[in-house]
Symmetry: C2
């Protein structure tokens, strides 16, 4: 059983909250960005009776959130005096899932109802908070159908994986058409394989060499719908490319799209496996190495290399995010996309008992902790 | 005075030739590709009275011609028995300028006249020859207005430089709009600067560091129309990029296009200087290093990286080559593009006195020789 939203619903729903608490920052620090965070209790300046008030259910701690604290992320919120600070400050966090606990009487509430679960339409709204206040329903997307973990991560990983598959290639689902991607164990890559499978597109996922390769590959293939998983050493092996790859791909295979979130040699090797005049999209650079492309791929094979940035794409075209979430939810309801909960380690913020000091420590642990993706889940 | 075509016109024009002589190859050899070349005398199989017969005036020895002999070039002519060889063979060379010496009576001659100077529309026709035979005027482009050196090189370097500037960006010639390119001393780069200048686009040309930097930069700026020349060390210098570059570019500058024929660090450094959502076209890889692109340029700056290949582009769309040559000739006639003769070392093939052995040595020298671009000029 997935945790239902009910479990997180407060008995005090439908009331205007009084105690606002947010994780805020005024400055940036590259080395140890947890230093710039503090917990701030404040009274919002808005007239809450005329606002959409949201109770936070969960927020993930994403790499981009951390990069924002470090001051190295190109997209950032405006810092304001809204939280009664001495210096202009912003609330950390860019995505999360919320429950509507109070609505205005006018048209600005749109079709929202009390108890609806929503996510912010845009990044930079600040999500590391117990409550948030919005003025218009058009800045929110309803996600009642999604479980907690899917809803809290759909804006970044969900949209990224979905749009990478859906928005660039005019696929023929009757053909033998493939995506090749590196970092095949990442959260986004798992969305990619599931969305691709649902659309009749095959995926070749490259993962790092490891002792339990077969076991990991089996999970990616059986649970997440990867068509075939290969290792980075196979990816980089010219003999493999010549002799084995064509058997994996089958007859009349077209490898039309490469998805790169690693860079360096891995990016060159997935690009080499593309058909002529194909596309590589880069959306991450885990290896810290630049994207590396043999000149001949550009000149003689017509390769196009572009970037994908979920924040900018959906800022430019908010409707595309609304449409993506709608399609994502349909696929989720059909069982084509499973919850990412197994990939996530939850950190519990009990809004009744967790002290400010404990909350700060909790979030710092989420920022610095290794292993699974971290998500703060609020208990009410 | 540029050498005129008159000088190369034969007294025997308007006659059907009897002695065909071509540099041909049947096999390939990477290490020393001159080994596969031989001089072949033959009688063409076509009915020459029903053909367009061309006398060769000059042909350059291009890197792509050499790569074809090596067997490492993705575009290659079909090998045939047309030249009375034991093994199927092809004539070397992909561009050159010819004079029409015999025409058929029918419509296949189009608007060609005896004495017209022409170039082949497509690559892979074989140009290292004293005569060539074509069946239709639609396979030829008239270039009567160009001097020998411009005409013999317009298919590769001329088209490349012209199309790189003209075919990808919708320029605003009233704006402060820039192209940045590396290998600023190359033949193509010199076409780029001249075409750009004629179109009201500014060029920032990067050249390798050298003792006589100022002298070389001055020639590129004064003679070839580069707006500003900088060194690779300046290109790679972050302080230069921050403090000096904006002064060079001026107010409201837009660096909209990067042209890369070097690769490696140089490609990363020119790409960094582009505005957001800009384009880098790679058309060569002199450093033998792959195209290297910081991940952030793709993701956060919206960089698109593509390739340019003159052969494929004009094969796909022959009309675009015809249009390019037409525009090139107009610009040449206005004096916006000068002859590349100063960049070229000529090797003379006297069709009356040069023996086959001497001819082969001449061409081998052209293939292996360092320094200036080599062109074989035929004397009749």
């Amino acid at each position: 059983m997935l945790p239902t939203f009910k479990r997180y619903m407060s008995s005090s729903a439908h009331q205007i909250p009084k105690h606002f608490k947010s994780l805020i920052y005024s400055t940036h620090e590259v080395e140890d960005c947890t230093k710039v965070l503090s917990v701030k209790n404040y009274t919002p300046k808005q007239d809450l009776s005329q606002s959409i008030v949201l109770k936070t259910l969960a927020f993930p701690i994403n790499p981009s959130d951390i990069n924002q604290l470090q001051g190295v992320y190109p997209s950032r919120p405006e810092k304001t005096y809204d939280y009664s600070t001495d210096e202009p400050a912003a609330i950390a966090g860019n995505e999360g899932v919320f429950e509507v606990v109070s609505l205005p009487s006018g048209s600005s509430k749109g079709d929202l109802k009390l108890g609806d679960r929503v996510i912010p339409l845009q990044a930079n709204q600040g999500t590391w908070s117990n409550y948030r206040v919005f003025s218009s329903s058009s800045d929110l997307i309803k996600v009642n159908d999604l479980d907690l973990f899917s809803a809290a991560t759909v804006s970044v990983n969900g949209c990224t994986g979905f749009q990478l598959v859906s928005d660039y290639i005019d696929w023929n689902s009757n053909g033998n058409e493939w995506i090749i991607q590196n970092a095949g164990t990442s959260s986004v890559s798992k969305i990619v394989t599931q969305v691709a499978k649902a659309k009749g597109i095959k995926t070749l996922s490259v993962i790092r060499d490891r002792d339990n390769f077969d076991e990991v590959a089996k999970v990616l293939e059986d649970k997440y719908g990867a068509t075939k998983v290969i290792s980075e050493s196979q990816n980089n092996d010219k003999t493999f490319a010549k002799e084995v790859l064509s058997k994996i791909l089958g007859e009349n295979a077209r490898v039309r799209l490469a998805l790169n979130s690693v860079g360096g040699k891995s990016s060159a090797s997935i690009a080499r496996k593309l058909e002529n005049n194909a596309l590589m999209l880069t959306y991450g650079g885990m290896s810290k190495q630049p994207v590396t492309l043999p000149t001949s791929l550009h000149i003689f094979k017509g390769l196009t290399s572009k970037g994908y940035w979920v924040t900018e794409k959906n800022k430019k075209n908010p409707q595309s995010k609304i449409d993506t979430i709608s399609d994502f939810i349909k696929m989720y309801n059909y069982g084509h996309i499973i919850s990412p909960r197994d990939e996530i380690e939850t950190l519990t913020w009990n809004t009744n008992t967790t002290t400010d000091e404990q909350l700060l420590e909790l979030v710092k642990k989420g920022i610095t902790g290794k292993g699974k993706k971290k998500m703060v889940v609020l208990e009410w």
